[in-house]
């Protein structure tokens, strides 16, 4: 080990958690770029700064995004990563794979790139980490061959993602997987050819547990819910109680609306349905006994994002409940109106939520044709600075 080129990184091969350094070394055995990546990273560990140049803009024909250009700032020392672009490849709904497809993907990537990937990127794409400019188009062509298209980057609709939903989850109130596929296909143009003021993200969760972090991480969040009442199987409730679940402490007391009562003697759970806000907590604890209602649809929230430029935002309810069924016309009409308004009014690098803040929720709602309802707010305004349409003031 004394003569290792990467003494610092080598330390990260130790320990129980699987090691990315091992992975890099594995790739480095077959690939020069992977090897130089490892060496350059070691250099960063010594210098405590990154060694990539600013920016990079490369791509494939007909697409305005999907590839992140990257160049080493030490190309002499690490020539194999002088060019080291990543490709964002659109994953299948719910990140479901069969091994055949995955192996094909590996073969393409071994042929054209570093052999290193992220499974997956934080937005959800398959990230193919590192190739040179002249490999981009051939790599894309080979990917196309096996049925993989690029995802989003730049000022476009970003690769949307969704939770596992009806694929494996009993709580999915909407068909997240199918909806995701349909929207992805409908909006290929928006995905591949940036034309918005900035990025626009969309995520779809099947229920308020939000396993794909739609509320904080997407400009447009579609979250499944129901409008009727929780279905209760009283026998199973009693079973949970008998099996040791402390229904009062763990369920009733943690219900945010305190709309449940537990009769310890008869082992009966009652829900005052009108007061339930469908937070999922009780269902989460007793999946065998409680289930979402049957009148299902989604809440639409918009505006979520990270802190650049004006601070992080969670997304905000704009449609409390919408039926979500193919061909998803109502939803798509809304999406079109939202993007249209944003695209028309947004400044460069202004996310949807920031634009709503700048122009006012009232203008947004009017533009997209949605009525104001109390479900949109935690609380009404506390300041008296509000507007009237001159029409309203006789």
């Amino acid at each position: 080990m004394a003569d290792s080129e990467t003494p610092l990184l080598d330390e990260l091969e130790e320990g129980p958690w699987p090691s990315f350094v091992k992975e890099m070394k594995r790739a480095a055995e077959k690939n020069e770029a992977a090897k130089d990546l490892l060496r350059q990273l070691e250099r960063s560990y010594v210098d405590k700064v990154g060694h990539w140049k600013h920016g990079g803009i490369v791509g494939v024909k007909g697409y305005g995004g999907g590839v992140i250009g990257r160049y080493s700032d030490l190309p002499e020392e690490f020539p194999a990563v002088a060019e080291f672009h990543t490709m964002r490849v659109n994953m299948p709904s719910g990140w479901f794979y069969n091994t055949k497809k995955l192996r094909e993907l590996c073969d393409v990537w071994d042929k054209h790139g570093s052999g290193l990937t992220n499974m997956h990127g934080a937005t959800g794409d398959i990230i193919l980490l590192g190739t040179s400019t002249d490999h981009l188009q051939p790599c894309f062509d080979d990917l196309a061959e096996i049925g993989f298209d690029l995802g989003g980057s730049g000022s476009d609709m970003r690769t949307p993602s969704c939770c596992v939903g009806p694929g494996r989850c009993e709580w999915a109130c909407i068909d997240t997987l199918e909806l995701l596929y349909d929207l992805t296909m409908t909006y290929q143009d928006q995905l591949h050819r940036p034309m918005f003021p900035y990025k626009s993200k969309m995520k779809i969760s099947g229920c308020p547990n939000d396993c794909v972090a739609a509320v904080p991480r997407s400009d447009i969040a579609i979250v499944g819910t129901w409008r009727d009442k929780i279905r209760i199987d009283p026998v199973e409730v009693a079973n949970y109680a008998n099996d040791g679940l402390d229904i009062v402490q763990e369920v009733v007391m943690l219900c945010p609306t305190r709309c449940m009562t537990w009769d310890g003697k008869t082992k009966t759970l009652t829900i005052e349905d009108a007061e339930c806000n469908r937070c999922m907590h009780c269902i989460n604890l007793m999946p065998k006994a409680l289930r979402p209602g049957v009148e299902r649809g989604a809440t639409i929230l918009v505006g979520g994002k990270a802190p650049i430029v004006h601070g992080a935002l969670l997304s905000w309810v704009i449609v409390p409940f919408m039926k979500i069924e193919p061909p998803y016309t109502e939803l798509k009409e809304l999406l079109d109106k939202i993007w249209e308004w944003w695209d028309e009014n947004g400044k460069m690098r202004e996310r949807l939520g920031e634009l709503i803040n700048r122009l006012g929720m009232r203008n947004f709602l009017k533009a997209v044709g949605l009525p104001a309802v109390p479900q949109m707010v935690k609380a009404p305004r506390a300041n008296p600075y509000y507007f009237w349409d001159p029409e309203e003031v006789k």
Binding site: G64, E83, F196, P197, M348
Partner: protein, 105 residues
């Protein structure tokens, strides 16, 4: 730094092929850059876009937003991609000699 050669003149470009000294841009440079972007020939339509971009940049110090580009030139985005297969940012802006678009990728 890489170069492109036009009539014996060497013009510095960055790794992505964007020219480094905006002053050195000329229609000939544009033609040379076009080749690297899969634009075999700069037609009138291309020039319309290129000139628009240059004018806009001269006036505002920034590249226009895509929606504006489409509106003002009258080319829907689809056609822009037909004209410049690598798109408005990587293709058209490069040929127009604008700074490399940064920010959101």
């Amino acid at each position: 730094m890489p170069f492109i050669k036009i009539d014996g003149l060497e013009i510095e470009v960055d790794e992505d092929g964007f020219i480094q000294e905006p002053d050195k841009w000329s229609p000939e440079v544009a033609a040379a850059l076009a080749k690297s972007e899969d634009v075999p020939e700069l037609t009138e339509a291309h020039w319309k876009v290129v000139n628009y971009l240059r004018d806009y940049y001269q006036q505002f110090g920034i590249a226009p937003m895509i929606r504006k580009l489409c509106k003002d030139t009258g080319f829907p985005l689809k056609e822009i991609y037909e004209l410049f297969p690598s798109g408005p940012a990587k293709g058209a802006c490069k040929i127009a000699g604008l700074p490399k678009p940064t920010g959101c990728v």
